[in-house]
């Protein structure tokens, strides 16, 4: 693990600091976890709905994954990249029409009632399928969940559904909530959405708007001796510069999700007692993507799209915008995905001359002012990096004679402008790759998606061959054949460029040396933290 951390200590384990380092062995990472303590960390947003079964997003998981658990969690070394949580084993039928989950014994809800297969059936049928942002696609063919006994849940599908997809969806999409709490009244209005009740290692304590969320230890947790921490406090620090200051002042012990700006990492890694960790987000890869409105006649020409791809210096973007904390992208599946990534795809090297030649070839000659045509460019406002890339892209396009006019919007206005009104030519978006292209990646290029669905193909791109491929892959049960189809999908997307993948990035945590068992799974920041502890 230490290979991924940069801290003053690893840098100074030279001879000069021998004297000082002898005073520190108590802080070594590989020690037995200590019980007790309160972990205080920075939270940059305050989600109102904390029900992860309805809102499957990282902002909600960050807090609620400690309270409400899923059937399985992502894992670095587990089989199929999974570690059991509420389910202890799972198996898909060969015909793809059912999947059987064996559930964990002796699990209790925070209010003392026992956890049974009825809770899983209720969550899947009443929440994941009809209400959840991601579950709507993945569980669309789920018709029933049989519960032969209290510890078995059998999912029944109307159409063959690849078990690989269900498996890959478990960590993010399978939050189980208690049936006895949710069966009365409307699920969306249930008070437990704001004060969740789950089976996790921590119970919801209280929430003070603008100040903090407090989670307390669940003494009845199923994990042996877990959790180690007594309390977790999410200190609301919306200002990104204040997280670094709070860490240095030892007011907080952890800032996850890149709460510390990238530009500050170099400085903060040299502060004694703090470590910078780039691990623990492998399952949460964000992609920097140029979304294209194919309704514009210039952009409907593949040569123009290729020219734009050639105009972008991906290495510069990684080095300057992300300060090296990112990787260049080749296509719609990130390089760090162990199952689906295909390297043999058409690539577009940074080549301004070639880009200019392609545009000339397409018939868009430079005018007297050096411009070929004008475009409206809408960078998504969610991240500093998407905004900065927007600034960069404007310059990169100017170099090939495309005059891009930036339009800045707030989040709500941006989503409306791009995904409902289609009032853009180019947009910069940060879609998330969630471990399987069928969860949230194929809809970025698939046609026939209704207006207003955010983070989907709203650029009017229509490619029957690609649509057929996506449909075929969604019905293919064999894991190898399905994986191959998604590799072909990557080749077709990169050849025709319905959108341009520029970079892939994840987040950085900065933590006090005292916090132990950090980043020990690929979705660490949004996992349950049952084994996290505070030393000394």
């Amino acid at each position: 693990m230490s290979g991924f951390t940069i801290s003053r200590r690893t840098m100074l384990t030279g001879s000069a600091m021998l004297l000082a380092s002898t005073a520190m062995p108590a802080l070594a990472w590989a020690q037995t976890p200590k019980k007790g303590g309160r972990l205080v960390l920075a939270a940059d947003s305050e989600p109102r709905n904390l029900n992860p079964a309805i809102v499957a997003s990282n902002g909600v998981f960050f807090i609620s994954s400690k309270i409400v658990e899923t059937l399985a969690e992502a894992s670095f070394d587990g089989k199929d990249g999974l570690a059991p949580r509420l389910a202890v084993s799972w198996e898909g039928a060969t015909d793809g029409l059912s999947a059987t989950f064996k559930l964990r014994e002796g699990v209790k809800w925070h209010d003392g009632k026992p956890f049974t297969s009825a809770d899983v059936a209720f969550s899947a049928l009443q929440i994941w399928k009809p209400l959840q942002n991601l579950g709507r696609t993945v569980f669309k063919d789920l018709t029933a969940v049989d519960t032969p006994d209290d510890l078995t849940a059998v999912f029944k599908f109307a159409k063959p559904t690849p078990f690989q997809l269900i498996r890959n969806a478990l960590p993010a999409l399978s939050s189980v909530v208690p049936k006895h709490v949710y069966e009365v009244g409307k699920i969306e209005d249930n008070p437990a959405n704001n004060a969740p009740i789950g089976t996790g290692p921590f119970k919801f304590g209280e929430y003070k708007a603008g100040q903090y969320y407090r989670l307390t230890k669940n003494t009845d947790y199923w994990g042996k001796d877990e959790p180690y921490l007594d309390e977790i406090i999410y200190q609301v620090l919306p200002d990104r510069t204040s997280a670094a200051a709070a860490l240095e002042a030892q007011e907080i012990q952890l800032a996850a999700f890149s709460a510390v700006p990238l530009a500050d990492l170099d400085r903060i890694s040299k502060v004694p007692g703090l470590k910078v960790i780039t691990k623990g987000y492998e399952g949460l890869t964000y992609q920097l993507v140029v979304e294209i409105n194919h309704r514009r006649k210039e952009l409907a020409d593949v040569k123009v799209r290729q020219a734009i791809a050639h105009a972008i210096d991906k290495d510069f973007v990684v080095k300057t915008v992300f300060l090296g904390y990112a990787a260049t992208a080749t296509g719609p599946v990130p390089k760090n995905d162990p199952q689906f990534y295909a390297a043999d795809v058409p690539t577009y090297a940074f080549d301004v001359a070639k880009a200019n030649a392609l545009l000339d070839e397409a018939g868009y000659k430079k005018g007297a002012d050096g411009n070929r045509f004008s475009l409206k460019l809408l960078p998504a406002p969610y991240f500093n990096e998407t905004k900065q890339f927007g600034d960069y892209l404007r310059q990169a396009l100017a170099a090939i004679g495309i005059d891009a006019q930036l339009v800045n919007n707030d989040s709500a206005a941006h989503i409306k402008a791009v995904y409902t009104d289609h009032a853009f030519d180019l947009a910069v978006g940060p879609p998330v790759f969630r471990g399987d292209p069928a969860i949230s990646t194929t809809i970025l290029v698939q046609s026939g998606i209704p207006d207003g669905v955010p983070f989907s193909n709203q650029g009017g791109y229509k490619n029957p061959a690609l649509d057929a491929l996506i449909t075929k892959a969604s019905e293919t049960l064999d894991t190898t054949a399905r994986t191959d189809l998604y590799k072909e999908f990557q080749r077709q997307v990169t050849a025709d460029l319905p959108l341009i993948n520029v970079a892939e990035w994840s987040f950085i945590s900065v933590a006090s040396d005292k916090v132990g068992n950090i980043a020990n799974n690929p979705r660490w920041a949004v996992s349950n933290w049952a084994d996290t502890y505070l030393a000394g």
Binding site: R240, T241, A244, P261, A263, D264, D266, R267, T320, V321, P381, N384, Q388, D391, Y392, R394, Q395, A398, Q405, L406, V407, N408, D410
Partner: protein
């Protein structure tokens, strides 16, 4: 004693005017000294000032020339400041004159409208307006003017109320001039000096409001603005403070120079009016 001599005897006024002249020179020479797009990437990112003499003030997070941005930013700041102040003064003077000269119902209606605008803090009004209409230079000018026209309107009205009782106004009525003509040709010019005295404060406030809007990301994104530069520098405040400090100093000097020069002019004219 001539007005110029009196003006030159106040050192603040001279300093302010000189500074303002430098700023105008910067704004006007921006395209000559730094032709092309000031937002073009000119060198390595985050180069500190005074390291490379082709980029004397260093570069920002994307490697854009800070000095070029500063010069082009002066243009935006001054243009917005002057345009917004001019708009506020013109609208204010007209509304104030109409209200004061017409009196009665017109006065009531116009002044209640002014009240309504005055009860909303000017910056909030600008913020709301820009976020609804969408940021561009013209919209920012209108947004700032919306919050500042009431001051000149009230002063103009007060002046007009006293002027309209003067004999020469009565004379104009007797010779049958149209009331509008009296209001704008006889009354308004005489009511103007105290209104214009406010202009320096309004320009300074407008420049600050524009910077604040840009800082919050509501400026025109296709133009360099000092407020936008400060906002961008804020994310790297601890590692590259000069990115925020340099445009910050420019902003302070501009506001100060406008204010000092304005004060100087007001004082010389006030003394003249008081003595004569």
């Amino acid at each position: 004693m001539s007005r110029l001599r009196r003006f030159l005897r106040t050192p603040e006024a001279v300093a302010g005017t000189l500074l303002l002249a430098v700023l105008f020179a910067m704004a006007l020479s921006a395209s000559l000294l730094f032709p092309g797009d000031p937002q073009a990437i000119a060198g390595p990112a985050l180069l500190p000032p005074f390291q490379d003499w082709s980029l004397p003030l260093g570069t920002d997070r994307l490697g854009r020339d800070v000095l070029a941005e500063l010069f082009h930013g002066a243009r935006t700041s001054l243009a917005v400041g002057l345009a917004a102040a001019a708009a506020a003064l013109v609208v204010g003077a007209i509304v104030g004159t109409l209200a004061g000269f017409a009196g009665g119902l017109v006065d009531e209606v116009l002044m209640r409208i002014a009240d309504a605008f005055q009860t909303v803090p000017g910056f909030l009004l600008a913020l709301a307006f820009v976020s609804v209409v969408g940021p561009s230079l013209g919209v920012v000018v209108v947004a700032i003017a919306l919050g500042t026209w009431t001051g000149p309107a009230r002063i103009a009205r007060a002046e007009v109320l006293s002027i309209r009782e003067r004999d020469y106004v009565a004379g104009a009525r007797v010779i049958g001039m149209h009331p509008m003509e009296i209001a704008f040709r006889e009354v308004l010019p005489n009511a103007l000096p105290p209104v214009l005295a406010m202009s320096s404060v309004i320009v300074a406030a407008a420049i600050l409001t524009e910077a604040a809007l840009s800082f919050l990301g509501l400026g025109d994104p296709n133009r360099v603005t000092w407020g936008g530069m400060i906002a961008e520098g804020r994310t790297v405040l601890r590692t590259a403070p000069f990115l925020s400090i340099v445009p910050g100093i420019a902003l302070v000097l501009t506001v100060l120079s406008v204010y000092l020069a304005g004060e100087g002019i007001v004082e010389t004219t006030a003394v003249r009016r008081g003595l004569s």
